[in-house]
């Protein structure tokens, strides 16, 4: 099959037309990517015209071009943020030395692993979300789903670009493997746990984009500090797109909060059963979904004590988010205190700072999450409803790290194993919660004038278009 790899098909600022190696790699990879997209991408909408943003360059005009396009014709591009002149390594043992334009042999394996792990999450989320279109609450939301999907696809391209350009044959093989793993597949699962969880309803989707994509944001922020300049530049550009994904999650939940609070106020009812009968999602259910996705996403940061994190930092491969905010960029002195549950009681452990950098990144993440939750609570309060959504303890429901698989309640207390099972459905989505949420989302809303009952309309549309704009033109 002849396959045209050129800058027209693939917008880029990486000199694709002159780079024979990259062309060769993409010639093999791109058809497989499209095959993957057609098999595992959004199901049932590939022939529709979607009002999508396409990046065609990195300047402010170029990265946000809007127009109706069929998803398989989307122009997935390859972009690096502008180079920083004379950039030097900003942290770790090599601080102050020039950044690397090529992969140092010494760090090839670690860098490849970091890039593959990041890259694997991108197609995974597309796979997780592939059936959601069939229950969309509006064309506006459907379009946002697809925007997130194509951009996750582009993020996969960004990571594949690095693998193709800098990691030779191993890199090409890893790039192929990124298309072969499948979210939730028993034999070939995606690398990280949260990316194998089913995401089959819109409440989960919004929670995922709010919590799980936010992990992505912090990982990208940490990688943007990397001494490997192409990785830094790639991730800096990805961050501009990631912001939209979190906007989708934050406003999605916010609109659901708004709708539920509005119905509570109007009906004067607050019992979950009554609210469910009125076709909105009660806050208890929302809290349980929040608890689930928050705890799954916390796991993505890795163990509290990590020698990998320490060596990535020491070697300049991965920094802290916004490294500039710190005064000490070597992090050789100082400790981080973590709680550890040992022989029936909690104790404090002082961990050398470098070994605790996963936890440092998780701190910034928790803080960022809290800001979003506060907004939701303000929306609820504005209706005069007294419910408050809360982030559970970060020790709750963890499967990675010091508190993995310990029976810990949402307040962070260790409880009897038996009482955890008894209380589980108070804290995490129960089968009946899931069944209820699914029952609200059995049919899509394709009329531009309509909005599903369980969610409020957004305050404004996309790129100056009205909320009831035909964001998705269905193929008749």
């Amino acid at each position: 099959m002849s396959n045209v790899i050129n800058s027209e098909r693939i917008p880029n600022n990486v000199g694709l037309s002159e780079d024979k190696r990259l062309q060769r790699a993409l010639e093999e990879w791109q058809p497989n990517y499209l095959k993957w997209w057609n098999e595992m991408g959004p199901e049932g909408f590939q022939r529709d015209q979607i009002f999508l943003r396409t990046a065609i360059s990195v300047d402010s005009d170029g990265w946000a071009n809007f127009g109706h396009v069929k998803m398989p014709d989307y122009r997935w591009g390859i972009f690096l943020a502008d180079a920083v002149k004379d950039r030097t390594i900003g942290f770790g043992d090599n601080m102050g030395q020039p950044v690397w334009q090529q992969v140092p042999g010494e760090h090839r394996n670690s860098l490849r692993r970091l890039i593959v792990t990041q890259g694997d999450t991108e197609p995974a989320s597309v796979e997780q979300q592939r059936l959601l279109g069939h229950s969309c609450p509006s064309l506006y939301d459907l379009r946002n789903l697809f925007q997130v999907n194509v951009e996750e696809g582009r993020h996969l391209w960004a990571m594949v670009y690095l693998l193709h350009s800098h990691f030779g044959r191993d890199g090409r093989e890893e790039a192929e493997a990124l298309l072969e793993r499948r979210s939730g597949d028993v034999d070939k699962p995606r690398i990280l746990g949260a990316f194998n969880e089913p995401c089959t309803d819109w409440l989960s989707f919004f929670m995922f984009t709010f919590f799980t994509d936010r992990d992505g944001k912090f990982q990208l922020l940490a990688l943007a500090e990397s001494a490997f300049d192409p990785l830094s530049r790639t991730t800096r550009f990805m961050l501009t797109e990631e912001a939209h994904h979190m906007f989708v999650g934050e406003t999605g939940i916010l609109r659901m909060c708004d709708r539920t609070a509005q119905v509570m106020k109007e009906s004067g009812k607050d019992h979950p059963d009554d609210l469910r009968k009125l076709g909105v999602i009660d806050f208890g259910t929302m809290q349980r979904y929040l608890n689930l996705w928050y705890s799954l996403s916390l796991d993505l940061f890795g163990s509290e004590v990590s020698s990998n994190a320490a060596s990535f930092f020491a070697n300049g491969l991965k920094g802290r988010a916004k490294e500039d905010q710190y005064e000490d960029h070597r992090a050789l002195e100082g400790f981080y205190t973590i709680d550890r549950f040992n022989e029936g009681r909690w104790s404090k452990d002082d961990i050398p700072l470098r070994n605790a950098l996963n936890e440092v990144l998780r701190d910034a993440y928790v803080e960022d999450c809290q800001r979003g939750v506060d907004k939701w609570n303000r929306t609820i309060a504005a209706h005069g409803v007294s419910v408050v959504l809360k982030l559970p303890s970060r020790k709750f429901h963890r499967h990675v790290g010091a508190n993995a698989n310990l029976p810990i309640d949402v307040a962070g207390n260790v409880i009897a194993t038996g009482s955890f099972s008894a209380k589980r459905d108070e804290w995490l989505p129960s089968e009946s919660d899931k069944a209820f949420v699914q029952s609200l989302m059995t049919a899509p809303v394709f009329d531009p004038k309509q909005m599903a009952n369980w969610i409020s309309p957004p305050k404004q549309g996309i790129k100056g278009r009205p909320v009831d704009f035909e964001y998705v033109r269905r193929d008749a």
Binding site: K20, Q102, P104, G105, E106, R108, G168, R169
Partner: protein, 557 residues
């Protein structure tokens, strides 16, 4: 870069390995009339102040590297330049002392790296002595007119026979353990039990007895072959030499003068006629290139004799040998070698044909043995060896041994790149394990070694991959990056772990006395050298010759 170069520069003047009998300071090579020139005599007469470096005196025929460099040279010259020789005798010019072994003060002043390479070189030379007997029928005799201790006895035990003067005081001994807290590091322990087959309980006693054993007991335990009185000493030596001459299988060949290589040594390597060593101190990588032979290389023994040491097979491998030693001693920071062979494969196959077609000729045989020794030195070089095979390469036959002996091979996947096997890859140049490099490469499947050997045509990259002869085959677009990254990665790994790992992986297959010496004995010795009980402030080696007694940490491992 300037810093890196300074780091790589040796703290001492570089060590040079080329010498010639007229320049020997410590040995005298002659051919006593009474044996009609059939016996070569190497008389040890170490100049106290003639050592390689300052700070120690080579008393009592103790030696340092400068003594061994001359010995290695002499053994080579006996084989090439003195074809009438049938036996070799070691003697001492000092009264009642043969040799006190490696100089302890020299060892005390040396870096660990130097000690290890010194021991490796002396071990290689002792093995040359044994190979000379096995391969060329020139047996050797140690005529111990006096005490031979430590390395002195280890030189003797590398000979076929040992005669020790029984004068009531002359002894043979291995005092390293009781006096210095280290091992006899030049094969002594291995040869006692594996070669001379001394009962291991006697070997145990002998190796812990500082003053050693004398006379009858030495003979009874098999530590020497004969211990005549002083009066009968020379007679016994001559009798044994006459017998060695009589049973020698050596054949005469035209003498081949080993002319000077005259390498052009500079700060970042050496240029020889056929070999280039180019050291990149910043990357800690050296490129070692061996170039193709001339178009008119000798094809008959007569042509070889007339071309002499200028023949490519002789000169190129002597240059390679010198380059290996240069690298070991003078570029300690180099982690990895780009092994390259430039030229046309057909020219290499043409030049090496004499080794196959005239294998029985004694001079041709000596050339084969020389190449065998150099390739073993290559195997034993503690640097990562990555062969790079590209359009310019001539990895064929004898030069293919360099790729087969490498830790990895990278072969460029484009048209026109090839390698060639030849009959010589079938075992002409055995490794220390006695396996050919091809057999070692395919240790899991002997049929693959056989399959590679019967490929008569040029083997292109795809075919080399199918046959399993190469490790990686990057194409044009990947080549530069793959190779760069491979070397960078290698250079970043622990040099100690690399040495140990490579030594374990290279010598796949059976143990021989040789592998035990370079593996078991050397590895234990190098561990002991690092331990406080030997080299700590209160270690036995540190305190040797000082009034204080060593203090051991008595914890056993």
């Amino acid at each position: 870069m300037a810093d890196a170069q300074q780091n790589a520069a040796p703290a001492h003047p570089p060590v040079r390995f080329e010498t010639a009998p007229e320049r020997y300071r410590h040995w005298k090579l002659d051919f006593p009339k009474e044996h009609e020139g059939k016996v070569a005599r190497l008389t040890l007469d170490v100049q106290d102040n003639g050592g390689l470096r300052e700070g120690y005196s080579l008393k009592l025929n103790s030696y340092d590297l400068s003594v061994d460099i001359e010995l290695a040279d002499a053994l080579s010259r006996i084989r090439f330049e003195h074809p009438e020789v049938r036996a070799l005798v070691f003697a001492s010019a000092k009264d009642r002392i043969f040799s006190a072994g490696a100089n302890i003060y020299m060892l005390g002043l040396s870096s660990h790296t130097f000690k290890v390479n010194f021991c490796k070189f002396t071990n290689e030379t002792r093995l040359y002595l044994e190979q000379m007997s096995a391969e060329s029928g020139i047996a050797s005799l140690a005529a111990l007119n006096g005490t031979a201790s430590g390395g002195g006895y280890e030189l003797a035990i590398a000979c076929d026979e040992i005669v020790l003067s029984d004068d009531g005081s002359s002894a043979v001994s291995l005092p390293e353990v009781p006096l210095l807290g280290v091992l006899p590091g030049t094969g002594g322990l291995t040869r006692l039990v594996d070669k001379r087959k001394v009962r291991r309980d006697y070997a145990d006693v002998f190796s812990t007895l500082a003053e050693g054993v004398r006379g009858k007991r030495a003979v009874d335990w098999g530590i020497v072959d004969e211990s005549p009185s002083r009066a009968q000493f020379q007679q016994a030596v001559d009798r044994r030499l006459a017998a060695m001459v009589a049973r020698s299988s050596a054949q005469t060949h035209p003498s081949m003068k080993l002319t000077a290589l005259a390498g052009d040594y500079h700060v970042a390597g050496t240029n020889y006629r056929y070999v280039t060593l180019a050291v990149d101190a910043g990357r800690r990588v050296a490129a070692r290139t061996i170039r193709k032979p001339e178009d008119d290389e000798p094809s008959t023994p007569a042509e070889l004799a007339s071309r002499g040491a200028d023949a490519w097979l002789v000169r190129a491998f002597r240059e390679l040998d010198d380059a290996l030693l240069d690298l070991r001693f003078n570029y300690a920071n180099v982690a990895a070698i780009e092994v390259r062979a430039e030229g046309r494969a057909s020219a290499v196959l043409q030049a090496e044909r004499i080794l196959v077609e005239h294998a029985a000729d004694p001079l041709v045989h000596e050339v084969t043995c020389l190449i065998r020794r150099v390739l073993k030195r290559y195997d034993n070089t503690a640097r990562s060896l990555f062969a790079l095979i590209d359009q310019k390469s001539a990895f064929a036959g004898v030069l293919l041994e360099l790729a087969l002996g490498a830790d990895r091979t990278y072969m460029l996947a484009v048209d026109g790149v090839s390698l060639r096997t030849s009959a010589l890859n079938g075992g002409t140049f055995p490794m220390a394990t006695e396996l050919s490099r091809l057999q070692a490469h395919f240790y899991h499947d002997a049929s693959k070694a056989a399959a590679a050997l019967v490929e008569t045509a040029a083997i292109d990259t795809a075919r080399a991959g199918e046959l399993g002869l190469i490790t990686f085959a990057p194409d044009e677009l990947d080549w530069e990056d793959e190779v760069r990254i491979a070397f960078e990665e290698r250079a970043s790994l622990s040099p100690d772990a690399m040495t140990g790992m490579e030594a374990n992986l290279r010598f796949v297959g059976p143990e021989t006395m040789e592998t035990k010496i370079f593996g078991r004995l050397s590895a234990w010795q190098n561990w002991i050298f690092q331990r406080p009980n030997a080299t700590g402030a209160k270690g036995a080696l540190t305190l040797y010759g000082k009034p204080e007694r060593p203090e051991f940490d008595f914890t056993r491992t």
